[in-house]
């Protein structure tokens, strides 16, 4: 009997060593046949599973775009839900290939954490949400309030800075999971809920009476959110970076998932270069020449994913604002493909 137990342990030991060693991320991804993408544990509009376990959101679309670029098939992606605490270790250890989880680009993360931010797919800023019946109109009236937030986020640091700079008293209540923060705020444990403004709009949907709560006008920080990869693998870094740029370029050039096929016949050299009918840009990235075409036709351009997930017609109802194209007064600006 004991021998069989010992042998069972042997199996465990061997199945560990049965995994292959790694080389470059892109080769790894091609070898295993899918992109492993780290996402949030549920943030409507950014990365959120439905009850059947299908993920949707603007961050999810970026991962699908990467899969489309590598495999020509946007469904070849697997999602790993991660807490704020786990996300960087998961990336560093190679558990995931790309982290697309409403993560703010900061100097510390870019340097000492060994990460690379491959662009900004959503320009955000931190805001406050309060109950209407408090009668608070500005964040400066919040002295003495209890503030709920997530631990291990930049919001936790920003709120400390903001209240200290304005010499306001406050009590911070920091939870590990976003759902717990919402539940505590909903129960009245805190007067204020602070996170990225997009997050406030998204989480408001989960409250018992969303109409009873207002998002205050102040934005207290810059929160550029974007996909993250490991340092030291430039090929993979480029691929993720240009997946985002391809989507922005496509919007600028008017290529959508609907018209991508016919746009292939366009005379515009810029469009031709994007769609791979001219130039060898795919090969330079280590993928097929129709990489951008696959992204656009299967996932859509930036405007499409924005409107589908967080735009005015969704429950979140967020205006383009700073996330509009540079040519329309926003900040989304992609270097040209040439």
């Amino acid at each position: 009997m004991k021998k069989t137990i010992v042998s069972a342990l042997g199996v465990a030991a061997m199945s560990v060593t049965a995994f292959g060693a790694s080389a470059a991320t892109l080769d790894d991804v091609k070898a295993k046949g899918f992109v492993q993408c780290g996402v949030s544990q549920g943030l409507p509009g950014f990365s959120n599973p439905d009850s059947a376990g299908n993920w949707t959101g603007i961050d999810v679309d970026l991962c699908k775009g990467v899969a489309a670029a590598v495999f020509g098939d946007a469904t070849k992606v697997k999602f790993t839900p991660l807490s704020a605490k786990e996300r960087f270790t998961a990336l560093q250890s190679g558990e995931i290939d790309v982290l697309s989880r409403n993560t703010t680009w900061t100097a510390t993360r870019d340097t000492t954490l060994g990460l690379n931010f491959a662009g900004v797919n959503y320009y955000d800023g931190q805001g406050f949400m309060v109950r209407n019946d408090l009668g608070v109109k500005s964040a400066l009236e919040l002295s003495g309030a209890s503030v709920c937030t997530n631990t291990g986020t930049t919001t936790e640091l920003n709120v400390a800075d903001y209240f200290r700079a304005n010499k306001l008293e406050y009590e911070i209540v920091a939870f590990e999971k976003a759902d717990e923060v919402v539940a505590a705020y909903d129960a009245g444990r805190c007067d204020v809920y602070t996170t990225d403004q997009s997050g406030l709009y998204a989480q408001r949907l989960k409250l018992t009476n969303p109409a009873d709560h207002t998002v205050l006008p102040e934005i207290i920080s810059k929160e550029p959110l974007g996909p993250v990869v490991r340092q030291g693998d430039d090929q993979w870094f480029n691929l993720v970076k240009w997946t985002h740029f391809a989507m922005v370029n496509a919007e600028e050039l008017g290529i959508t998932s609907a018209n991508a096929e016919e746009m292939k016949n366009s005379d515009n050299p810029a469009i031709k270069r994007v769609l791979g009918t001219e130039g060898e840009f795919g090969a330079a990235l280590g993928v097929g020449n129709d990489w951008a075409f696959n992204i656009i036709s299967q996932v859509g351009n930036y405007a499409e994913t924005f409107n589908r997930n967080v735009g005015p017609d969704t429950p979140l109802a967020i205006a383009r604002g700073t996330n509009d194209l540079w040519s329309k007064g926003g900040l989304q600006y992609a270097p040209p493909i040439r």
């Binding site: 042998s7 060593t17 190679g94 919402v182 539940a183």
Partner: protein, 456 residues
């Protein structure tokens, strides 16, 4: 002296007839007098306790049964007028339709609907295998144990995950043969031959007949190969990733895997701690005391955040597997102490007897000491299992959706969001845990009593 019997006239010749006990010593009244109102302080205590019960019990019954809502489609069924529903504003009781609506999720997690039969089969196998194992009078214990410890875990692994494990080989460098399933078997064969060779060489060196030992080793390796083959073969089952697992099934998976892995590890550690070899016993002591000295939650943090950094580049563990490793190491330390307790209770004569009949260390442990020691620590093992079963709830903190994790997740669904939602689900969860743990502790007491008789 001789005929005193006749001279004492006051000795009774017949027995006094039996009389009914005094009214205040028997019956309900007597019992109450004796157990409730034996003295003034006792009477005061009784009345006070009854008053406290009066305050608690009716309220609980109202909350759970009479005032509770039993049917409905959404939160409106359990909302008061102020919250937009129809119940009176001071209403506070359980909202059972919410538990009903989520019951499937609570039990199976997000496991795909079409594949639920696989989970059900695992559960049926589990209970069919477990019940006769727990009943001391049913025979075939050895076969049953083999089923529960070998066949059941493999079958449940294949059923739950879909099997079809990727085996890529581990020994030969890629230059000789590219990674493939065939290469794995080649590697496995080479490894088996090496192990058999080592055993043969060792046996030869110690002047023992190597035939038997080599045969046993070869059979073990063959069994291993069969197990690996079953795990790697494609049964055509849809693969289900572990992030779709959850609910009560995951709680059971973690607890059962934890205990099955902890038992052999714990036995080894207990043997190590009682070993004469200083290096072995020192290592065992440090290992055991380390895991017993730190909280489980930091162990889980370590396995979820730190373990990936300790592994070679490119080797990754599934999140559930990482938690399982943490739980197994943690509980093996507690198991080791339980087993050690059992071994210390074995009289020294047994050890000496085993030595006297010429058994070597492993033989005497396997045939004399451990069977007796393990028998007396069955209650301790069950208690460790109860502790582990309760502790599995901690994996919800590192984001696994076990029973408690999925219950917490269900609170974020606004369809059923009411102030009583949290309490309702927790009472349900507490009731299930109570049933299982109370049942197990009763079983452990029953076994304790049963085992005790032989020592009196």
């Amino acid at each position: 002296m001789s005929n005193t019997k006749n001279s004492i006239s006051f000795v009774r010749a017949e027995m006094v007839p039996e009389m009914a006990p005094p009214i205040n010593e028997s019956g309900v009244l007597g019992w109450m007098r004796k157990n409730l109102f034996s003295s003034i302080p006792n009477t005061i205590l009784t009345l006070l306790a009854l008053y406290i019960l009066y305050l608690i019990i009716p309220g609980m019954i109202q909350w759970v049964l009479t005032d509770a809502v039993w049917s409905g489609e959404s939160r409106l069924a359990c909302a008061t007028i102020a919250q937009g529903g129809e119940l009176p504003n001071d209403w506070k009781a359980a909202c059972w339709p919410y538990v009903g609506a989520y019951l499937k999720l609570f039990i199976y997690g997000r496991y795909p609907d079409a594949e639920l039969w696989r989970v059900n089969m695992v559960l049926i196998m589990f209970f069919v295998g477990l019940v006769p194992l727990l009943m001391p009078n049913v025979g075939f214990k050895r076969e049953n144990l083999v089923f529960m410890l070998v066949i059941f875990p493999i079958a449940s692994f294949v059923l739950l995950s879909g099997g079809n494990l990727d085996l890529n080989g581990f020994l030969l460098p890629d230059a000789i043969m590219g990674p493939s399933e065939f290469k794995f078997w080649v590697d496995f064969l080479i490894l088996s031959l090496i192990i058999c060779g080592v055993v043969w060489a060792y046996m030869n060196a110690t002047d023992t007949d190597p035939k038997q030992a080599v045969t046993i080793t070869a059979i073990t390796m063959a069994v291993l190969a069969v197990i690996l083959f079953v795990m790697s073969v494609d049964f055509g089952l849809e693969p289900v990733e572990t992030d779709r697992w959850g609910g009560f099934v995951m709680t059971l998976v973690i607890a059962v895997t934890g205990i099955v892995a902890a038992l052999p590890l714990g036995i080894l550690l207990a043997l190590g701690r009682r070993s004469d070899m200083p290096a072995v016993s020192l290592f065992s002591v440090i290992f055991i005391e380390f895991w017993r000295g730190v909280p489980l939650i930091t162990v889980l943090f370590m396995s979820s955040v730190m373990l990936p950094l300790f592994l070679p580049d490119g080797v990754t563990f599934d999140k559930l597997l990482r938690a399982l490793i943490g739980v197994a190491l943690f509980s093996s330390a507690y198991m080791a102490e339980v087993v050690r307790g059992g071994m210390q209770a074995i009289p020294k004569g047994q050890y000496e007897g085993a030595m006297a009949v010429g058994l070597n260390y492993w033989q005497s442990m396997r045939m004399i000491i451990l069977p007796q020691a393990l028998k007396i620590v069955i209650p301790g093992i069950v208690n460790t299992f109860i502790g582990l079963f309760k502790d599995t709830t901690l994996v919800s903190i590192i984001g696994l959706l076990d029973f408690l994790g999925i219950i917490n997740l269900s609170h974020s669904d606004s369809t059923w969001a009411t102030p009583v939602q949290a309490m309702t689900s927790y009472v349900f969860c507490a009731f299930i845990f109570f049933l299982f743990c109370f049942g197990m502790s009763r079983y452990s007491i029953y076994m304790e009593d049963r085992l005790n008789t032989s020592h009196r």
